[in-house]
Symmetry: C2
Subunit: 218 residues, 2 copies
């Protein structure tokens, strides 16, 4: 499959690397075609790894992944272009983190809206699926870094799109039974609002190799 | 121990019932001394269960538990009175849920503040510990309703107060190793922001007998 990834940070590169090992072809997009991070990644990635602009990545992908931070996600997708996203599965893995000068971390939007919802509203022809924003990048593509069974979540209005994303996540090593469908894209709100708690746990554990693992009565 | 509980709803009554079975003496407080819920509970509770106003409950308790909803918690504690809370462990189990006319559920405060923090700021002499707001009342006092190991969280600025609350939670049946200390009272923010996600899971599972259970690499 051809996959376009917006964002050349650690999340984008981690997902891109995993997708290459699974045999997919990937274009990693950034603000400019000459991004040194993007071109360096493509040079190391071999024949199936490319870099380009956000628009190049979105045009290229049968599936598009937003791996830019929540604060710039809409601008990156605007640059990608509405036409390039129309009809496509658009996976949003972002969190709307705002880092304050005092070291505080808050969210914007929050509570009455979410990045996932904003993306779906702005690009109604895209089939937005929120997922993977609840854990660290290394665990996203290697669930065995964390012992036992643990959970991923998906939310989106397009059931078929969620099915395709779930299949992709299963190819990463996630058992389908551990992937919880929270319903429509409005559930992105709750998923994004987990982040302050997750950051508290990261401080508590001193690392990011942990994950939500719900225990449930029969 | 003498414990004052503010709030006669299902959370207050569930905690009160458990505390009685553990041999504690409980006063359940509400807005008026003649609250039919409070007096009915006390009549059924036997010699060690009493009802009264918020002030009666706070005066009575060596430990005070806020089991009123987040939207009215500060007013209930104002009615209890600053003097009655000074120096005491004050357990806050509330969530700042706002139920909209359209069926929406949001939080107020959120993101840059929390009920836990507001209570600690307003009553600086109280030793506020946030806990138990992340799960349903029946599971609070009977962790075995949910299979396997699963987690509780505590947050507060007073380390000794957190130790006393942790001991109380252990007496409910929670293994100490499963109770995660998230640090100061500001961590109440992340704990309260779990609620929209938790409500999504409740819809997904169709019941409330589930709980957070973190899996963590060694």
């Amino acid at each position: 499959m051809r996959i376009g990834i917006l964002g050349t940070g650690s999340v984008g590169q981690t997902l891109a690397g995993k997708l290459l090992t699974l045999g997919h072809e990937v274009t990693l997009g950034s603000r400019t075609a000459t991004s040194s991070t993007g071109t360096a990644w493509a040079a190391a990635a071999g024949a199936k790894g490319h870099s380009g602009t956000f628009a190049d990545a979105a045009d290229f992908g049968e599936v598009v992944i937003n791996a830019t931070p929540g604060q710039v996600a809409l601008a990156a997708l605007e640059a990608a272009g509405e036409a390039a996203l129309a009809g496509k599965v658009l996976v949003d893995v972002s969190n709307p983190l705002v880092f304050g000068p005092d070291g505080s971390v808050t969210l914007d939007p929050v509570n009455t809206d979410s990045v996932g919802e904003r993306i779906q509203r702005r690009f109604p022809e895209a089939r937005v699926v929120k997922t993977l924003n609840t854990l660290a990048a290394p665990v996203m593509v290697d669930p065995a870094r964390v012992p036992g069974r643990h959970n991923l979540f998906v939310a989106g209005d397009d059931v078929e799109a969620k099915g395709r994303v779930t299949a992709l996540l299963e190819s990463f090593g996630w058992p389908g039974a551990d992937i919880i469908d929270l319903g429509g894209i409005q559930a992105a709100r709750g998923m994004e609002m987990l982040m302050p708690f997750w950051l508290g746990l990261m401080k508590h554990y001193g690392h990011t190799d942990f994950n939500y693992a719900f225990q449930v009565a029969d």
